[in-house]
Amino acid sequence: MASFDVMPDMQLYQPVELDDALNLADRYAADGWILGGGQDTYGWLKDRAKHPQAMIDLNGIEALRGIRDSADGIEIGAATTLREIIRDKRINRDYRLLSDAAATVASPQIRNVGTLGGNLVQDARCWYYRRGLSCYRAGGNTCYADTPDGINREHCIFGASRCVAVTPSDTATAMVALEATMVVQSVAGERTVSAEDFFVGPDTHITQMTSLEPGEILTAVRIPAKWAGKKFYFEKIADRNVWDFALVSIAVAMSMDGDTIGDSRFVCGGVACTPHRLRHVENAARGKSLSDESADAVASIAADGARPLNANQYKLPMMENLVRRAMRA
């Protein structure tokens, strides 16, 4: 086994127009690598675990950057950095859930260059997969993690389907909670897809984390005004306070009528391959007030249906506790 860490040869394109990027993405399809902030790029390439022929660098495309008004809420360019999101006044005022989530991503240094798009479409962090083993997600026919002695402390408790990896994205849970729409472009035009449908589990597509197909580029995210200024709760539990992925995280948006919860969105990260929406919790929370009593009542069902692996049963009480904390006054 060789240990590689030098960038191998490949074509580098640095388009300044989106159309040129889309044409390149179309031309290279699965052999092209879309470069944003590069935080989930250079590891793969320098390790020679992925072998694209060409890199398409989006950083020169002005249209992909920035936070702007949309017809219904705001639109954030996919190449906007996490730091820009964290510091944006409007997001902090109206969509605090997103800036709170973005502020827990990786480290300050990574947030300075890491983009929203990159954070959303980053690949699974399962260490077996990242090691370059031929597992299901890598196109092979086995899972190393889902075995009696597998190292699966950080893997899923919901939605296992051959693969047991979890979503690593902190902003993805917030996007699902905020009912965001993903704007996807290709030479064929633009399509939009709800955040909930954008992230896909292994039962849908085992080698992809999103519904992006080769040749497509995530260009923007639209957040509707529906949840602007509502009550939010975000918390991420990770081993380290910085530069670490969630063991379990939660993003909650609640529409309050006085002290009473109306519509709500409860979404957990780190428990399934996709942001995991807790519909039964949302139903149970409806009509309740924020209090210790209702927190305990709702938390007790939070992890219903979970199927822990041999080393991650702690995620059940951790998940319950996060729901409990979100429901407290």
Binding site: A2, R131, V242, Q313, Y314, N321
Partner: protein, 803 residues
Amino acid sequence: MSDYKHIGKDFVPPDIMGKVTGKAKYAEDFRVDGMVYARMYTSPMAHGRVTNIDTSAAEAMEGVVGILTAEDVPATDAPSAAILTNTPAYIGDPILAVAAEDEKTAENALASIRIDIEPLPFVTDPLDSLVAGGPDAREEGNVYVRSQEGSGFRTVKWTKEQVDEFRAGREPGGEYANEWSYGDLEKGFADARVIIEEPFVTIGYAHMSMEPRTAMAYWQNGTCYMHASCQSQSFFMPGLAAMLGVETKDVVLISENTGGGFGSKIGAYPIVGLAGYFSKKIGRPVQLRVTREQEYYMGSARVGFQGWIKIGFAADGRATAADVFIVEDIGPNATGGDASSAGGAISLVYDPEAMRFRGLPILTNTTPRGAQRGPGQNQIAAVMAPLMDKAAKQLGIDRLQIRRVNAVQNDTTVYAGQEPVTSAYMDEALQQGAEMFDWETRKNQAKRNGSKVRGLGIGQGYHSAGTNGFDGLVRITPDGKIHLHSGIGNLGTYSFASTSRVAAEVLKCEWDDCVIHHGSTEANLPWNSYQAGSVSTFTQTRTNYVAAMDAVDKMKRIAAETLGGTPDDYDIDGQRVFRIGTPAQGMSYGAVAARAIQLGGAYSGQTYPEDIHEITQRSVQNLAGSGLIGVAKDKLERNGVIPGLACAFVEIELDLETGKYDILDYVGIADCGTVLHPQGLAQQMKGGAVWGMGMAGLERHVYDPQNGLPANVGFHECRIPTYMDVPSVIQVGAVDLPDPQNPVGARGIGEPAMGCSVAALTSAISDALDGHIFGRTPISADMIVNHVAGLDQSFKPLQTNNS
């Protein structure tokens, strides 16, 4: 003490500017004409036998310069680490290297190489090897015992019942490999009011030095020039020469800056041998760059423990007996020796009246182990702290008191041989720390606030902190400059500079007139100690002292010869040697140096003491005639164990719902004799505290036991604490009482600075959880959440390396 000119004062170490400006050069930064780039192919299997190597495609590539395999380097006998091997014993064991005109070509060549390996049995958890029928990490056996009576492999197996008993926390009944004891153990336990008996696990983890051990070598006229990343300078050379099959005089080692070693770069390691042999084979300078992943594999790791301890206490808290049994994970190369050191630390820190240590070193196919900051002492510190708390609770005495009543003092005798200590002020350190931390107030404060619980912890750290018998070398030149030659090495602690200041102190000279020479054999350095084991301060202050005293003696003799009278008629000050009573009659240091050159002989290094090391001799020969030479071997008194000691007080706030805790306050107190360099000491105490925080809660080896794969080979996955995982303020202090066996009263501190931290944290976590003892490091959020929820942990009792 306050009349010292340099001792106890801060100064700007000469390597600071290079580090803060990025101009400091490390081994990887050097380039020489004709240099080629080498990269390694390492084993993808935890244990195997290479049956075929096909490098034909690589050799046909343009730009590939050469291939080095195990046949090109001296063979080593198992279990010693080989430079290259055909029987790899861990994932990452180097099999071959390829050199090319540039790194990309070298990597392309690596990708084309095909190696067939026949798999052999492997094991990642020592207890899986110990149980009857379990796999052995080496074909020669599963245990390797190092002893003065003879080292060798053994095969030791326990019945499943014996292993299960051990896992269940009962006294192990199986065969062990080494043992020592003192006192009457039976009587000690009979005298005890309370007996604590607990199993424990401390998982080993990678050193992860910031600078990977890249090496660059070239040969000129039979001399090997080696740019390497070393903790030690002169001490590294004999081993390096032996590895290269040449004499020490034929090696020039350049290692001016080192990005951390922590025990992993003390002496010559195989990578330097690889660079040297490759350069020799292809006749070109070779830079062998080590990747971060490879530094994980071959950069060494802390030894892991799986153990059982029983310790008895009298009604007043005094430890009456301690019985400890440790299975130590010694990796594939049988490196470590931590377990017996842990036993020694128990005997010194808690001073039980009687004690027995039993150990069993078991080989695993995980990364090679080695000394890591407090090897043994710091693992057992983490284990012991909550046990002391439990005993205090059962006896109804204060947790501080039980530590004070057992604290090592000047008249304490330690270890199997019940040796004396040079001095020890643990009780003073505990009192000082308790006062700074306000222990009395804090221990009575409310603990619970919603889901958060406060926990207080006290930790104690120890490592022997000094050695002796090395050489010192100073030189005064006619321009009046004082040249301080330091061969200790520069692993990043500034101690090469702070210890040199002792010579300036003796010579009563201005620091601005001193020049430190270090970092290369060609800087003419003396034979100095390994820079490890917290020894630098005690050891190197002595060598600087004796060399400077020799220079003072020579200056007085030269003055007497030149100006009349006897040497005793003269004294020094103001960088002059002058006649006592008539200070106008004298010579400047520059004038004395010029006169020394005229007079020759020992004055200017034409002759030198016979008892100095050959490395020092060569340096003196090179310097002869350039000034006044002060050179001597350290033959000062040294009797007994030299303890470096530290204690820490910590307050945490642990969230029962998340399993996370914040460290609210940390106070660390050093007992390192006289404080030599306050900023350097503070840095050691703070850096050690952070390291201890990593060991307590974050860092550990993770291996998939099914296929021997390591899960955390990078910086990110190793979870080294970041600045956001540690308190922004870490308070430190020092007892600052002199050790009588050091001319300036100083002892070392590097390792205890960490041991007290990890111990304070395991103590505080236990305190926050009503005295629950996990008996394991690290204690991670999932363990705490499982415990609070009443769930089983996901690992078997005593299971290691895979959680």
